[in-house]
Amino acid sequence: MSNAADPPADDGRTRVITCAGTGCVSSGSLDVHDALADRIAELEDVDVALQGSETEADADVPTVGGADAHVSGCHGFCEEGPLVRIEPEGILYTGVTTDDVDDIVERTVRDGEVVEDLCYHSPDNGIYTREEDIPFYRGQRRIVLSNCGRIDPESIEDYEDENGYEALERAVTQMDPDEVWRAVKEAGLRGRGGAGFPTGLKWEFAAGQDADEKYVVANCDEGDPGAFMDRSLVEGDPHRLVEGMAIAGYATGASTGIVFIRAEYPLAVERIKKAIEDAQEAGYLGEDLFGQGFDFDLEVKKGAGAFVSGEETALIKSIEGKRGMPDPRPPYPVESGLWGQPTTINNVETLGNVPEIIRHGADWFAGVGAEDSPGTKTFAVTGDVQNTGLIEVPMGITLREAIYDVAGGVVGDEFKAVQIGGPSGGCLAEQHLDMPMTFDSLQEAGAMIGSGGLVVMDESTCMVEVARYFLSFTQEESCGKCPPCRIGTKRMLEILEKFTAGEATADDLERLEELSEYVADSSLCGLGKTAPTPVDTTLRYFRDEYEAHLEGECPAGECALGESAGGSSETGEASEPMEGVQ
């Protein structure tokens, strides 16, 4: 694993870091952490006290001979959680329970020995001691997630130890605002929220607006089922977002930033709020930052849970306390957004890249990833793969590399398809496995990077059912404002239901295609425009399956039709192909 961040200062202390990302927490990691902390404290007097803890600033942290128990954000290797990492050795223990605590403290912390049973065992029976050596991580390039899983997200000192807020200081004290947006522009950073709009260009527009008040908004309304990139980043490294937003504020001339975050992410809300408070106290937020006359502060607004509120104009309405419904553009939010003022809205991951660009320079960033899509991209990998979880890979790697090398390959039957970009993304087929993943190549194939969901499906998946499933999500999440999205998707869904019930006719297929094109063409906002993408791409790459349904057959035997016909499904499971989706 190659990290952009420098390694932590080696003070000779052992850090026992339990993952407290939502995935690990839900499988009991906090109990593990508490038990580890207690055990370490118990042992303190006994044997290792002599090594002292003179450098320990935080008296609350139990120590054992220069050992501290910490929590961290998500490592991404959620399939194997709860995870415990031991530093500085970089040992990773997987599937840890409270029963394993004695072993870890006594054998590893005290005696410096590896507990092999707790190490990751790969399907081919490899045993991996160090996290970095695990194949899941080997293929990754962690820039945005470099601190996730390593630092304590609730400790501003931890972040500072990773050179945190250096980029902000450099920007504010050594650069003019236009140098900042120029750097981001030259780095080629594109929006990670879906459409891939050049971030530097957006900032340039915003900076050019003449207004008394401007805003920066971090869009953390991560609504795609199965997507948890933003959540993991905010939970695991909240100060990175704070720093990125402050830099954005400096570049665009905004003095107020708003983190718009789903109310369904209570842990992330808590962490970002604490990070903001700590940053205010440390002087990274507030008035006259670094004595340069730059004022910038942050507040948190919780979303009410509507998927469409991730759409920029609906998001603005939502922050204003109105129903989240999209508005036509122009005017664009950078011209007239929140409260009618110029507003720069960036995705969390986009902002997370910003400090790295300022620290390492535009050229460095432009050199990572693909030419038209520099940098890395995080993906939430789910479905029929070995290693479900959160990954960060360079742009431009192929689907095959991501699915097979990083995610450990397909479980179950042969690979059949991958839904990329969430419910509004597209379904790609085997022929795309060796296509490099960039914003543009995916768009060409009819899909999009979107927020970065990757749902891998094996041969037992009915593609009509997949289309139906994703469309049913967007259909219900339509804000209801425009007829193509509100009613068009409903009529499409009804046609798909006819397919899976074996009642569809050739006319239905024609109407489905017509509506699919029409809804994409005529809808008001991105939600409607992309809602037909799963239908459109499955029609493009798996048309034969639709045609088979016209004949009353489901080749995969998975949908309602397949089930009733006792189809060819080996598992014979009911029609919920997205079972693995979180």
């Binding site: 509507a306 129903r323 508005d327 036509p328 209801g480 193509p484 109407r511 008001l524």
Partner: protein, 911 residues
């Protein structure tokens, strides 16, 4: 004095755009949709509506640009130089057809039984785009219709979610009584939490109903009453308050079935695209079965039908008898603030020229007599100095004694618009009325202490050097007297008298004085006091001292209560003046009118309303001719009114219903209602607006001027007019301020007086160059605070105030017969502070007794902190619990207005 109306014409830059291969020059700030509409290019839309923001919701106005890509909504695409768009490609037609087919798949197509048939924008487009109605099986029937309010219903099956109603509520009404709820196919328009609208902040203005492009929102009175294609449309002026809204009626020959804002708001200068619940929903009294259709004569105590011939002969005979026996001044007459200018003119001419008395008055005596007197003294004439639509441009607004949002709802919206535009709002009112929510400062003075706080503001203005010296020096006189008087009113002293925090008073003084354009809006909270004239003079002082009069959007604005109370005053329905405020006791003027009217005219001013009632009680007035007034509810101390009217030898009442007053009459003459006649009304902003006949009158009802004319003939004084327009022109000939207002010139824009000749465009705001007093200067008057006639004591410990409410009007002759209004607000109430309620152990809704030295009524208590402790408030509309049984008839010596706003009262719990 006349100030030419300067119309604000923006000369916007233009750009060239190409639409469907034609090049057009269009305004640079236009959208493509506006540009297309302007040039007659038909781009369909269902969500765009003038006056509302573009939402691009309906997706029908999509056009293609040269850039390619997805089509874009023309309504939200700004034009730019060189822009090229196509509006009618095959791709667009396909998209529109798909949109319409989808809408129709969810919408009922019960066109055969729909009120909107012939006016449905969805149906029109379905036809134009030749949609396939059988494309989908479709849905519909998802939601129960919303019918739980008395005024209108929402049939979700006819709703296309265009959002116009939601926007109208939000953007025009500054309310959010309705919004969208649910997601996906569960999306619908509804009040929050699906409550009944009657439980929300909805004021039932009907803006939402007007904005609906289909038959989804429909007035309940419209249901089953006619389809759009069967009905005619006529616009005329509303008969309720003085705002003078132009309303569009849908009607058959003899029945009104619906009302709405006019299609083109530019043709409604007084109200634009706004209306209130009364104008929109309370017109049904016109159709009422109880309308008078025949003259009635009382015989042996019973009323019987009579012919016009008989009724008029009898009336003339009786009045002549009285005149012969007791002289002309033994008869008195009340003209009407709801009748037209022409009718009031003819009426007072009849009383003066045909009958020979100046005993003519009308209910303006009870509302703005003190305005006419006060502003007359200070400025030279008593009317709003500014226009309705100037309110929104003020930088500061001082509202006092006006419950604007309820009594003048459309002006209330103007005030809210001003606040949205950044104006400071100062409210001085004892009650926490609705507009208090928008106020920057709310000073809750003790009722009846207005001179104290106004003088206090002036004290601060002088003290802090906020006087507009140049204006005072050049445009006014007698400033020294003012200085002397207000020196005695330091804020701390005012705090003691009026209960207004001294610091807040200072703040208010600064806020008002420092604004570039400050406007005062006031109504009966100022005028209906024994110090009414002085109250008005005090406000005039305030405006002059700060130079806030004589300019656009700044001035002194008495809000007139009745649709034509301004006109009735203007046209001489007052005992001391001829039309145009020309004094009857000025020999020169008197001679002029004798010449005009070819008659000997009395030279002494006549009696005012309250004096008439007293004279009747004491037997000096023996006959009365009442045209369209109802003193039996509107006047103070009703027991006295009744005594007086019963004492009369002869009472003739001309009205549209048997009012409480008509019940005492010897003869009742059936008149036509506003929607049945022509003529003009003068609204509160001095705008003379023409009426258009909408429906035929019931039975034998006649226009008031015809009735008066036929009566005049019986007095050998022929007043024959071929049409009402002849009267309009005669008014112009004898009334200098109406000199240029002839029938031929009047269109929907109307004309604002003063308008001296036919080349005069009328006057948007008064006194631009000089005041209307003889020397052209405004005059300051040092006025001192005096206690009201009655102040609370041990026996009567409460301050009783009276006033209006939103849903009813005056004596309820009209609103009391409106089905929807009566379903919604059938009962009177007395507002009582919770502390007082607790002290008297009274619960909300409990019936209690309220008494003053003059009478006692029973009335349900409305426990609310709208009123301060120690004050109670009763709307005066309800005859059954008539506030005016209690009110004090003590008069302002200068204007003879009674002190209706404050008297001492007590309350009692009933067993």
């Amino acid at each position: 004095m006349a100030q030419a109306e300067t119309r604000h014409t923006e000369t916007a830059e233009t750009v060239e755009v190409t639409i469907d291969d034609e090049a057009y020059e269009v305004a640079e700030d236009a959208t493509v949709l506006e540009a297309a509409m302007e040039h007659g290019i038909d781009v369909p839309t269902l969500c765009h509506m003038e006056g509302l923001e573009n939402t691009a919701a309906c997706r029908l106005c999509l056009v293609e640009t040269e850039e390619g890509g997805d089509p874009v909504a023309a309504c939200s695409l700004p034009v730019e130089d060189g822009l090229t768009v196509e509006t009618d490609t095959e791709r667009l037609r396909r998209s529109r057809r798909n949109t319409l087919e989808l809408l129709l798949s969810e919408n009922c197509v019960d066109c055969l039984t729909c009120e909107q048939r012939g006016g449905c924008e969805l149906a029109d487009l379905a036809y134009e785009y030749d949609v396939d109605m059988d494309q989908y099986e479709g849905g519909g029937g998802r939601f129960e219709p919303m019918t739980d309010n008395p005024y209108f219903q929402l049939d979700h099956d006819r709703c296309i979610l265009c959002g116009r109603c939601v926007q109208a509520c939000d953007e025009v009404r500054h309310n959010s009584a309705i919004g969208f709820t649910g997601r996906g196919m569960e999306t619908k328009v509804a009040p929050p939490l699906d409550r009944s609208l009657t439980e929300t902040e909805c004021k039932f203005c009907g803006q939402c109903v007007d904005s609906c492009p289909t038959g989804a929102l429909t007035a309940k009175d419209r249901l089953g009453a006619g389809r759009e294609e069967d009905l005619e449309t006529t616009s005329t002026i509303c008969t309720y308050c003085g705002v003078g809204c132009r309303i569009e009626f849908k009607h058959t020959d003899d029945e009104i079935v619906d009302a709405s804002i006019v299609d083109d708001p530019d043709t409604a200068p007084a109200n634009g695209d706004r209306m209130c619940v009364k104008g929109r929903f309370a017109w049904d009294f016109v159709n009422d079965d109880e309308r008078l259709t025949q003259p009635l004569i009382r015989e042996d105590g019973e009323l019987r039908e009579a012919s016009w011939q008989e009724a008029l002969d009898y009336t003339a005979e009786r009045l002549q008898e009285i005149r012969e026996e007791h002289g002309a001044d033994a008869v008195a007459g009340l003209a009407s603030a709801t009748c037209t200018n022409e009718e009031n003119y003819v009426y007072q001419k009849f009383m003066r020229a045909a009958f020979g008395t100046n005993n003519v008055d009308h209910c303006a005596r009870l509302c703005h007599a003190s305005t006419v007197a006060g502003l007359g003294r200070a400025f030279g004439s008593g009317a709003m100095t500014n226009s309705n639509q100037e309110i929104r441009d003020a930088d500061a607004i001082l509202i006092t004694g006006s419950n604007t949002t309820e009594a003048h709802p459309v002006l209330g919206l103007e005030v809210q618009e001003a606040v949205e535009n950044g104006a400071d709002l100062i409210l001085v009112d004892p009650r926490e009325i609705e507009i208090a929510d928008d106020a920057d400062l709310h000073l809750r003075q003790t009722g009846g202490t207005d001179i104290a706080w106004v003088n206090g503001m002036l004290n601060v203005i002088l003290e802090e050097g906020l006087v507009e010296e140049e204006f005072v020096a050049e445009r006014t006189e007698n400033f020294e007297a003012l200085k002397e008087t207000v020196a005695d009113y330091p804020p701390e002293k005012v705090e003691e008298i009026a209960g207004v925090d001294a610091e807040k008073l200072r703040e208010a003084a600064r806020m008002y004085a420092e604004a570039d354009r400050a406007s005062i809006l006031y109504a009966m909270g100022i005028t209906q006091h024994s110090s009414g004239t002085d109250n008005v003079l005090a406000l005039a002082n305030l405006a002059m001292a700060t130079g806030n009069v004589g300019k656009e959007a700044a001035g002194v604005n008495p809000l007139r209560g009745q649709n034509n109370v301004q006109g009735a005053c203007d046209l001489g329905a007052l005992p001391d003046v001829y039309p145009g405020y020309q004094a009857v006791d000025d020999p020169e003027i008197n001679e002029t009118f004798e010449a005009h009217w070819d008659a000997d005219l009395p030279e002494e001013p006549g009696l005012t309303i309250t004096e008439m009632i007293d004279a009747a009680r004491f037997g000096t007035v023996k006959g009365m001719y009442v045209m369209g007034e109802n003193p039996m509810v509107s006047d103070p101390h009703l027991r006295h009114v009744e005594e007086g009217l019963e004492e009369l030898e002869f009472l003739v009442v001309q009205d549209i219903f048997v009012s409480e007053t008509a019940e005492l009459a010897d003869v009742i003459l059936p008149a036509k209602a506003f929607a049945e006649k022509e003529g003009t009304f003068t609204n509160t902003e001095r705008r003379i607006q023409p009426l258009t006949k909408v429906v035929d009158a019931p039975g034998d009802a006649k226009e008031d001027w015809e009735i008066v004319g036929e009566l005049a003939e019986r007095f050998d004084y022929p007043m024959e007019y071929d049409s009402v327009h002849e009267i309009t022109d005669e008014i112009a000939a004898v009334t200098p301020i109406y000199g240029g207002i002839v029938a031929d010139r009047l269109d929907e824009q109307g004309l604002q007086w003063p308008c001296e000749d036919e080349d005069d465009p009328g006057t948007k705001f008064l006194y631009a160059d000089e005041f209307n007093r003889e020397n052209g200067l405004g005059e300051f008057h040092g006025v001192e605070y005096l206690d009201p006639d009655e102040i609370p004591d041990d026996e009567y410990p409460f301050r009783l105030s009276t006033g209006r409410m939103l849903y009813h009007f005056h004596t309820r002759t009209m609103t009391g017969r409106s089905r929807a209004i009566m379903e919604h607000v059938p009962d009177p109430y007395v507002e009582l502070n919770p502390e007082d309620a607790e002290a008297y152990d009274i619960e909300d809704g409990e019936r209690i007794a309220v008494a003053s030295r003059r009478g006692e009524i029973e009335i349900p208590a409305f426990v609310t902190d709208r009123v301060p402790e120690g004050t109670i408030f009763i709307p005066f509309h309800f005859a059954e619990s008539a506030a005016n049984e209690l009110t004090n008839p003590t008069l302002d010596p200068k204007s003879k207005i009674p002190e209706l706003k404050v008297c001492a009262a007590r309350i009692e719990k009933l067993d």
